[in-house]
Symmetry: C2
Subunit: 152 residues, 2 copies
């Protein structure tokens, strides 16, 4: 298991391969973000998106799936997230794109009130198959401390 | 249609009524956030969530659906969003909860390079049926300018 003590500031990981299908883009948009440029080719062509694109929240969800698969693989003792400091949908995501993720640990500290809990900041960037950045965010993570008895 | 010129800083709107079902919570989690505390009652009981809770990204998606329904209703000429400045999952969302949204326009400006485009910041807060804040975020929106020929 990977615990708080194992996180290294500056550590970079790259992973994931998510194929974005038109069917999934439209299914997500119909349910959660039914704006015309996520559902209709003609409406999308008339906007700065140029053509049908995925909901930004769908891009977050697909990125999360890659993050969770990676955390599961390395057995990271994650406990959820209090939030995101900054999130930018840098470029549209289109059906047919293949996404991947790069993460970097940028900060970590022990909880002051809960000795078993660690907090860390991680920058997560999602790229498409042309190595274009599509999503850039700084997320806050919670993680278990391996040895809560040891002072930080 | 509501255009950039119609947005008033300080304007508050309240809307939405989203019923969170266990089925939808697990469907979203299985696809996009398969962490044990979003999928398994026992695993969730062992965490600070206390019981099975929705993925934070699912809460964002449900909130977006209420936002889009409201924008559609008032015919707001929205053009998507470049991103979110700050997002906090303040409390867990549980199956059986009913969510609603409060938005407040907190800033607006014309694009310097595109006369037809306006930018605005809006704080969106999602509450549950007990009026507890579950999601708090500041989003950046793009909106069409009604009369691009008029100087801002």
């Amino acid at each position: 298991m990977i615990y708080f003590e194992d996180l290294e500031i500056g550590a970079v990981r790259e992973f994931g391969r998510y194929q974005v299908t038109r069917e999934e883009v439209m299914e997500f948009a119909r349910r959660y973000d039914p704006q015309p440029f996520h559902l209709d080719d003609e409406a999308a062509a008339a906007t700065h998106f140029g053509r049908l694109s995925a909901s930004g929240w769908h891009t977050c969800a697909m990125t999360m799936r890659m993050l969770v698969d990676s955390m599961t693989e390395v057995q990271q003792a994650g406990l959820g997230s209090p939030g995101i400091d900054n999130l930018r949908w840098v470029k549209p995501v289109y059906p047919g794109d293949t996404l991947r993720v790069r993460t970097e640990v940028i900060d970590k500290r022990r909880s002051q009130s809960k000795p078993w809990l660690g907090l860390f900041k991680s920058r997560a960037q999602t790229f498409n198959q042309n190595d274009e950045l599509v999503l850039d965010m700084v997320s806050n993570g919670l993680i278990r401390v391996r040895d809560p008895g040891v002072e930080s």
